[in-house]
Amino acid sequence: MSTTLTLDGFVRWLESFRARIDEQTAYLTELDSAIGDADHGSNMARGMAAVMTKVGESPAATADELFKTVGMTLVTSVGGASGPLYGTFFLRVGMAAGPVSECDAAALAAALRAGLEGVVARGKAEAGDKTMFDALSPALDAMDAAVAAGASLEEATAAARDAAATGRDATEPLVARKGRASYLGERSAGHLDPGATSTALLFEALAEVTAA
């Protein structure tokens, strides 16, 4: 249990995210079948496989390098809505983190918030639109609050994980207003948002890695 996340830790985060995506590919696609086009699982799996290959091939020396690789790889291998959104997220995280080799809780929270801002700039989602925003934004609010209250990295990411999960669950009753699910109108209610569900996995992975 450490107070910073090192470059190694970032890679372990990505690895753990990838493992969760792989495990949940069918589930994510099933969620996307109900209110979308049945590809979110395979999109994310394809993207994270490409990311881990790229990251393995050319290990990065700094956080900005690493996350630039992650973001560009997602942008160029995923497509769909999630490619530009997750891609932009990581590109912005890297830009905000800068040429460092580790981040403490506050720096990490700030970098992740820059990522969220990138997602919003790209996709224009607002709270309650039933998108990944609805897991991402509360996760970062919780992390900020924990950091402000002096929580450890582990505690802050655990708070983010829990808030992401709550945010994901809260998408279920919502009527979608962004993305493909919005075409369904009222019929989109009663289903979890696939992107919010994959985002919750991202924070599960982060919390796991900081706790290790």
């Binding site: 049945a38 395979s42 530009p84 996709g123 993305g179 075409y183």
Partner: protein, 332 residues
């Protein structure tokens, strides 16, 4: 899942091999997943690039060729292609007069094409303009949706604007023409069955034998409403009426497409076209040209869509202009 494929993850790569083998007048960049004309068009003419998820064949690769597109970027099944694909295609086909991106209105497609245009602009070399097609009357274009989907009208637009590009019109002209087409056309679709996305391995949704989905797009998504199965005549009414309610076609000539979703045989498409044409005529709509067949599909989904485009003399003459692609061919 029963499909003529080798493996779900190889569908796109393998299909591109077949397209290349079948069409000597197409060139396929397999790594980049772009379909080009084997012979580029003349210097000084605007090039057209489109693309989108796969599973809609012949759209878009089948519309690459004289009189239509210069390049089509193929994404994974139902997944928009990535910005690097569009950027590469854009640079490759530019003949110095700019490139028009034809994008169907889906969040993913729009964002990926946007990033591609940003990248192309950063390289400062190619003048890129974009038309986003959004013709699906099943969806309201409101704050509460991602706007109307781009569906059948895309085919008609690629034909008409492609013909104009071949005549040497400017990029701005083509943008204006595209906007005109997009403003004058509307579509509505329905499904008898779901399709099966190869990577998902099972139908996207279940539909009881006595039900159908009205207001579907082209991604196997459920429609706006699930309603009792009806006969062809009443299905045609449910497709035509929302279109006529959305746009007054007056007595101007129209181009009408009765499009199959991929799993519906031609005999049923002709039968549906007969019903649609009769209903349109009853409402005073004049059909000047038509297209019946599988042009923008949703894998193996059974169902169909109707597109109606109000077409003045300009659009009709561009429609009639020669075209030579895998999916549409006349006049040469």
């Amino acid at each position: 899942m029963k499909k003529l494929i080798n493996a779900p993850e190889a569908v796109l790569a393998d299909a591109l091999k077949g397209i290349e083998a079948a069409h000597a007048d197409l060139r396929v960049d397999h790594a980049g997943r772009v379909i080009y004309r084997a012979t580029p068009k003349d210097q000084g003419t605007v090039a057209l690039v489109s693309g989108g998820g796969s599973g809609h064949e012949p759209l878009h690769g089948g519309f690459v060729g004289f009189g239509m597109l210069d390049a089509a970027c193929a994404g994974e099944v139902f997944t928009s292609p990535t910005p690097d694909q569009m950027q590469a295609a854009t640079k490759e086909v530019d003949r110095g007069a700019g490139v028009l991106h034809i994008v169907k209105n889906y969040t993913g497609d729009v964002m990926n094409f946007e990033m591609a245009a940003e990248l192309a602009a950063m390289e400062a070399s190619v003048d890129v303009k974009t038309i986003v097609v959004n013709d699906d009357v099943a969806v309201q274009d409101s704050l509460y949706t991602a706007g109307r989907r781009g569906v059948g009208l895309t085919v008609l637009l690629e034909k008409i604007v492609g013909a104009a590009a071949e005549q040497g019109r400017s990029l701005d002209d083509l943008v204006a023409l595209s906007e005109k087409v997009n403003g004058e056309g509307r579509s509505m679709g329905m499904a008898l069955t779901s399709c099966t996305v190869p990577a998902a391995g099972k139908p996207t949704f279940d539909l009881p034998d006595d039900q159908m989905e009205i207001g579907v797009g082209i991604h196997g998504e459920p429609g706006r409403h699930r309603v009792p199965l009806a006969d062809a005549h009443h299905i045609a009414e449910q497709l035509v009426e929302p279109i006529l309610a959305d746009l007054d076609f007056g007595s101007s000539p129209t181009i009408v497409m009765l499009n199959g979703m991929g799993g519906t045989p031609l005999i049923e498409l002709y039968l549906m076209y007969g019903e649609v044409a009769a209903i349109l005529q009853k409402h005073g709509v004049t059909i000047a040209r038509n297209l019946v067949g599988n042009y923008i599909t949703s894998l193996d989904m059974a169902g169909c869509s109707v597109t109606v485009l109000r077409a003045d003399d300009e659009l009709l003459s561009l429609w009639d202009a020669p075209v030579e692609t895998a999916g549409l061919r006349w006049g040469r």
